[in-house]
């Protein structure tokens, strides 16, 4: 027995631990703090933060025998986790407000400009196309879409992109209101909207997810898996005949996938990818840039959505409150509620929640489509 042989092994934990790792432990701690004390998207930030801590203690997804690598390979590399989460999200979405007012769907397209605006900025800053596009997906303002596209185009950026997407999403009530006040007049915010929806039959509600799946798979095959799973979840709920499966989607499947998705993404956040790579001797400023660009993506989305809302308001002869343009960014259902609240702050009797929720679900659809289109275009160019 030779202590000289055993000691390095016993001290392996300390030997591999650098100041960069210590800093990343702090980052993980901050994420957990935000999740627990501030309740910012805790179901994701808590696992991501804990995964980040583990990644810098020798359990990253880059270690050959790490259990987090097993989970990463099984769920992120295979693209299963975002899709499983979408089955659950689909089972929680109600498309009736949108189906009752079909033209609201247009608002779901404008709110995707942030994706492409950010892509332009990122290429201008020198990011290669695959990374720039991945950063752009933060502008989808929809976690699973951003993770699905990024895991195909630039998996090395999964950590910062997921963190940016989910953190800013939880900050929607802070990010959007100033922009909304700046870009709309009080008169516009006071516009009341009539709620006289068409009746929506059960047949329509069941047919909708199937038809959407077919259309999107044909015109944007890149988005097909995302849209298919989202719509599968919705079909499970709306069909009303498979309550067992509906419950499994909304509980077991989404909870397990969410926990392990968060852990695995956090476990990509090693110090050498985020701070300083001792092998190449390079500082990783990209992480900060990603976080900054992500904030811009949210802002551009909101601005584009509001501009389109103003256009629709003008075209409709002032019958549409432009505030609901801000719901087209996705961020379901926070953005929808926020718009309704802004309108009500100006006039206590002004209720636009149903219109806002319609635009918000349209934004969810638009986000997935834009993400798929982006994936398809960029895939051919790299």
């Amino acid at each position: 027995m030779n202590l000289a042989e055993i000691l390095p092994q016993l001290l392996a934990g300390f030997m591999a631990f650098g100041w960069g790792n210590a800093f990343m432990l702090l980052v993980g701690g901050v994420l957990i703090y935000l999740a627990v004390a501030k309740e910012y998207e805790p179901v994701l930030l808590l696992p991501i933060g804990f995964g980040c801590i583990l990644a810098n203690l020798g359990m990253s997804v880059y270690e050959e025998h790490s259990f987090l690598k097993v989970i990463y390979d099984a769920g992120i590399k295979s693209e299963l986790f975002p899709l499983l989460i979408f089955i659950g999200v689909g089972a929680m979405i109600d498309f009736r407000p949108l189906l009752a007012q079909p033209r609201m769907v247009l608002l779901g397209a404008a709110g995707q400009f942030g994706i492409f605006g950010t892509l332009i900025l990122a290429t201008w800053l020198g990011f290669p196309l695959n990374e720039a596009a991945s950063i752009g997906t933060i502008g989808a303002i929809d976690g699973p879409t951003a993770i699905f596209v990024t895991s195909k185009l630039a998996p090395e950026l999964l950590g910062p992109i997921a963190v940016a997407a989910y953190s800013y999403m939880s900050l929607i009530p802070i990010i959007q209101p100033p922009i909304m006040r700046l870009m709309t007049t009080r008169k516009e915010r006071l516009i009341r909207m009539e709620y006289a929806p068409r009746p929506v039959s059960q047949t329509t509600v069941v047919a909708f997810p199937v038809v959407v799946t077919v259309i999107v798979s044909l015109i944007a095959p890149g988005a097909a898996p995302l849209m298919a799973t989202l719509m599968l979840g919705n079909l499970l709920k709306e069909s009303g005949v498979v309550e067992r499966l509906n419950k499994a989607a909304q509980n077991e499947i989404i909870n397990i996938a969410t926990l392990f998705l968060g852990l695995a993404i956090g476990a990509t956040m090693t110090a050498d990818k985020f701070i300083f790579d001792p092998v190449t001797g390079e500082w990783q400023f990209r992480t900060l840039l990603v976080l900054g660009l992500g904030l811009l993506a949210f802002i551009m989305d909101t601005v584009a959505g509001l501009l389109f809302g103003k256009l629709m308001s003008f075209l409709s002869g002032g019958k549409i409150n432009p505030l609901i343009g801000a719901c087209g960014i996705s961020a379901f259902p926070m953005a929808g509620r926020l718009s309704a609240k802004m309108a009500q702050e100006e006039d206590f009797d002004n209720f636009i929640l149903m219109h806002a929720m319609g635009a918000n679900t349209a934004g969810q659809l638009g986000s997935v489509i834009a993400g798929g289109v982006l994936l398809a275009i960029v895939s051919t160019m790299i």
């Binding site: 179901v43 009736r96 247009l106 929607i172 006289a196 039959s201 379901f332 309704a340 638009g366």
Partner: protein, 111 residues
């Protein structure tokens, strides 16, 4: 202007164009899909009336829903004396929204 940057502009043009095209297609499809079932409504009403919103009651329900929201928002307002607009989480909130929506309808139909 670098080639990469010009590529990015092209992607934006193509991407936003396709997204709008898809969404416009959705609009048409939704107009169609919500129009057709008026004939099929009878059958649907027999087998599965549970989830469809009946036309006659819709306006009334909307009012009830609006009232419920108003109350909820007013309530939220009060809480915010001490605290800024609760930044809720996506999943939990989606969940809550579903519950709340159900409650709204329950109140509406209970009257």
């Amino acid at each position: 202007m670098s080639e990469l940057f010009s590529q990015a502009l092209w992607i934006t043009l193509l991407g936003m164009g396709l997204t709008f095209a898809a969404i416009v297609l959705f609009w048409g499809m939704m107009a169609l899909i919500t129009a057709i079932p008026v004939g099929a409504e009878k059958e649907a009403a027999e087998t599965a009336p549970r989830d469809s919103i009946p036309t006659q009651a819709a306006a009334q329900k909307a009012k009830a829903a609006a009232l419920a929201v108003a109350l909820a928002l007013a309530e939220q307002e009060q809480q915010q004396v001490a605290y800024f607009p609760m930044p809720e989480t996506a999943f939990v909130s989606a969940w809550q929204l579903g519950m709340r929506t159900r409650q709204m309808y329950q109140k509406g139909s209970g009257r």
